[in-house]
């Protein structure tokens, strides 16, 4: 049974047209992460939530926003996608209250910008 679910698996959007990617979890974990991964590169942390506390990475462009309305759901909003935003977007969760917290990833959303 899938525990971290990302929708959609594939998303095509037009240059400059706002797009939202979604992530849901059934693990009741208090930490949720969003990563951007381009081909042959490291997953790049965009931001993460510890419960409702939002942690933005210093180099995450303002074009990327996030919402976490409740424990189970988290959204990534790209306000004006550019060609350089085409990538795999990964959502992950962990129970970071434990020192040995492992992260559970969804299958990712492959974003194409045309």
């Amino acid at each position: 049974d899938a525990m971290v679910i990302q929708n959609p698996r594939y998303q095509v959007t037009q240059f400059g047209k706002p797009v939202t990617l979604s992530c849901s979890q059934t693990l009741n974990h208090n930490v949720m992460y969003w990563y951007q991964q381009k081909s042959s590169q490291a997953p790049k942390l965009l931001f993460h939530y510890y419960d409702k506390d939002f942690n933005n990475e210093a180099d995450t462009p303002d074009n990327f926003q996030s919402r976490r309305p409740n424990t189970s759901f988290c959204f990534l909003d790209i306000r004006s996608p550019g060609l350089g935003d085409a990538a795999m977007y990964l959502c992950a969760t962990s129970r970071a209250a434990r020192m040995n917290a492992e992260a559970f990833f969804g299958q990712g959303t492959r974003l194409t910008v045309v």
Binding site: P43, A92, E102
Partner: protein, 113 residues
Amino acid sequence: SQKIEQNSEALNIQEGKTATLTCNYTNYSPAYLQWYRQDPGRGPVFLLLIRENEKEKRKERLKVTFDTTLKQSLFHITASQPADSATYLCALLIYNQGGKLIFGQGTELSVKP
């Protein structure tokens, strides 16, 4: 800021041999290093975690070591199989920053029959 680096060159080995991958980190202590496997087009899957005060951790054919002097972790796969072919990522869990988790760029392993 914290940095984590892996050898970006692909590693090609023969089936049955031991694969050894390297991960180096800077500017953080205490550290909790994690290792993940990622197959093409899929999300990473957790394999092992090692704390800075642990020298070694094992799980089946996997072994992780930690050298705090070098700030380096080594990841070994013994008796490697073609099914072990994947990209292996190390990650640094920064516990006192709300569970922040940052990744190295990964090392692609190819095991030939």
